[in-house]
């Protein structure tokens, strides 16, 4: 008999007033008992709509059946048939907009907690210590993967499984891309990401850190001098956008990238044990409403800020962040200042940030795309005292490769243009993830890596 409870099994988590002072993971994961109970909520639909909501079409009802059979390793294998990073996706996918949004149980009540079950299965596998890996038979062909974020890792994994000799080039000193420098420890523990990377290395994938393609080595040289047969570009969207308002160069104004990189990659939250400092004042304003903004705000709170504001020009309904992140941020005491937009930053004579001028916004009628445009309300200006500002209004692709690679077509937003298979305008060069789509999600980037790996194999085989 299915479990007909209208509610998901709640996720065990650290209490809000405890976790907002530490960097340990917020959610603790389902116990076996909870997972079994939740798995019973799945109706095992004939035509599973949930799968259509998943960018990599994880066989959701199948893996949930295997949980019910207590074949957790089997469930893990089922997921990894199409998703190579389940421990990551179970934590950071916007399930409420993907699989879970299609779940029949969601029509009356809450959907099945697919994401939490995915995480349960993946964590169970990692804890089991079963890391046996089939070493593929080499096929004698070499592929270079540029960037070691979710897209590059997925492409590399899929190609390695097919016997390709794969080298990942990473500009930073640590592989993992946004999973390492962007998403904080309390939402995605770094040892989980590292385990996924270690798995690839065991499979024979080589990782060359400290190599900036477009500077250290050019794309053309990868073919001519280094002898690769194909190249996959998964360099993400790493270039932070600023707002272009007065005072953005004041001390105390960060891009979310800088703030989060200092904390996550450089371990600035452990300063002075680690050498990289991160300045956080008493009153912190984060501009933007996406996951990155939530991550920055919650990190600032954990580093001791008294008041942390999320300043967003639309309303709560329009916040692009995952629902769970918004909820967690609210519980942790983040103050949402919605329908507000900054007009200028204010500083003292030493160039230090002291405040921000905001203007209130209202939402216009929906446009053709259904999105309501925010418009300023004249005369509603106010000044808020802040000493730290974190600009989190989006990122665009880094132009280093575009600038140094002839024949690589990009669009006006600086994104690489590809066909559906990930092929670019340059022969044997493929691309996918944020560098093609602009800043999007981990799972879409992984999906693109998968598609391109398949296309590369078809081309080189």
């Amino acid at each position: 008999m299915p479990n007909m409870s209208l509610k998901k099994n709640p996720m065990p988590e650290q209490a809000a007033d405890v976790r907002n002072k530490n960097f340990f993971e917020v959610t603790c994961g389902y116990t076996e008992e909870m997972a079994l109970d939740e798995a019973q909520r799945c109706l095992n639909c004939k035509n599973p709509a949930c799968m259509e909501g998943c960018p990599v079409a994880v066989k959701i009802p199948d893996f949930i059946r295997l949980i019910l059979d207590r074949d957790f390793e089997g469930a893990y294998k089922k997921i990894t048939e199409t998703n190579s990073l389940p421990a990551v996706c179970g934590r950071v996918c916007p399930q409420e907009r993907q699989c879970e949004s299609r779940c029949v149980r969601g029509i009356k009540g809450e959907s099945v907690a697919i994401g939490r079950l995915e995480r349960f299965v993946a964590d169970r596998h990692l804890q089991s210590g079963d890391t046996a890996i089939d070493i593929p038979k080499p096929n004698g062909k070499k592929v270079a993967v540029i960037g070691s974020g979710p897209s590059g890792l997925t492409a590399a994994g899929d190609l390695a499984k097919l016997g390709y000799d794969v080298t990942i080039y990473e500009a930073f000193h640590t592989a993992g891309g946004v999973l390492m420098y962007g998403i904080p420890e309390f939402r995605l523990p770094k040892d989980i990401v590292q385990k996924e990377i270690d798995k690839l290395v065991k499979m024979g994938v080589k990782i060359e850190t400290n190599v900036i393609i477009g500077k250290t080595i050019l794309v053309d040289e990868l073919f001519d001098e280094f002898g690769y047969d194909a190249v996959y570009i998964g360099t993400g969207a790493g270039l932070p956008s600023f707002m272009g308002i007065e005072g953005e160069a004041l001390n105390g104004v960060y891009s979310a990238n800088e703030f989060l990189t200092r904390i996550n990659l450089m371990k600035g939250y452990k300063f002075p044990e680690y050498d990289t400092p991160v300045y956080v004042g008493k009153n912190v304003a984060v501009f933007g409403g996406g996951n990155v903004a939530m991550d920055a705000a919650r990190s600032a709170k954990r580093l001791g800020a008294e008041n942390v504001y999320i300043i967003y020009r639309r309303g709560k309904e329009e916040l692009p962040a995952r629902f769970e992140e918004v909820m967690h941020a609210e519980e942790e005491g983040i103050i949402f200042m919605l329908l507000k937009n900054p007009t200028r930053f204010i500083g003292d004579e030493k160039g230090k940030l002291t405040g921000v001028e905001l203007i209130s916004m209202k939402l216009d009628e929906p446009d053709e795309g259904g999105r309501r445009k925010p418009v300023p309300i004249e005369g509603s200006n106010e000044i808020v005292d802040i000493d730290t500002a974190i600009v989190s209004i989006g990122q665009t692709p880094n132009p280093l490769i575009k600038k140094t690679t002839d024949g690589l077509e990009t669009n006006k937003r600086g994104c690489i243009v590809t066909d559906e298979s990930g092929a670019t305008s340059k022969p044997l060069v493929y691309a996918g993830g944020d560098v093609v789509t602009g800043a999007a999600t981990v799972i879409l980037a992984m999906g693109a890596g998968k598609t391109a790996a398949k296309a590369i194999d078809e081309k080189l085989r």
Binding site: A171, F172, H173, T209, N210, V211, I212, K215, T216, I217, G238, L239, P240, F242, G244, E248, A249, L250, N251, G252, Y254, S255, N257, E258, T261, R262, M266, K267, F271, P272, E273, Y274, D275, T276, P277, Y279, K350, G351, K352, N398, P399, L400
Partner: protein
Amino acid sequence: MYKILKKEELNSQIFLMTVEAPLVARRAQPGQFIILRIDEYGERVPFTISDFDKDAGTVTIIVQTLGKTTKQLSELSEGDCILDFAGPLGMPTKLDGLKKVCVIGGGLGCAIAYPQAKKLKKLGADVTVISGFKTKDLIILENELGLVSDKLVITTDDGSNGTQGFVTDRLKEELLSGEKFDEVIAIGPLPMMRAVCNVTKEYNIHTTVSMNPIMIDGTGMCGGCRVIVGGETKFACVDGPDFDGHLIDWETAINRQHMFKEYEQKSLHKCRVRDTL
């Protein structure tokens, strides 16, 4: 891991380090920089490439002991390794087509001025080098700069080498004597570069300065190195580090350098405490 092949003290505060980094040396050009991280706990710190040898696969940096990382570097010896060493980063200095150039280095800035003067000389330009130091004991690269310049002027703030005054005083002398430069390249502390720009503006000489702001990744990702140039925000790591000195917003640049001053002291303090344990 990147092995230190050679280490040499240039004065009591400044030393040179040649590091085995063939991939960096392979495409390095004057004006570019590297980022290193000394160990697992280290910061990512940029250093300008002072010299490189593609055949030997080596890159030379010149370091002044100032903060935590530079102090730790100063304690390393030949044969030791640096954990991370990435580059070459930034845009090379535009040197082609220049006929008569004055290259000005202030203190450690001479380390960066040197590869530029060397390349200019190779390209056949007439090169005047003006180097300024606080005092005689701190003079570095005198022989090297002599070899790559048509005229070398060394000046000290206290006059201890026989020529007293700032680099701007010597530059003014050159200009007053009728020297006509197509370009001035100034590298050194921000106030020095600003002072040089004030002089060259009067004479309407295009002036390139090399900015060295705080940065993390060096690839355009953090935006920490933003510099305001002609009213626009530029990233020193990818758009620079060289910029038209007459367009730089110097006040903002100087303020931004102080962002983490307090923390640098803390970090250095911890480093000293660790040493005494």
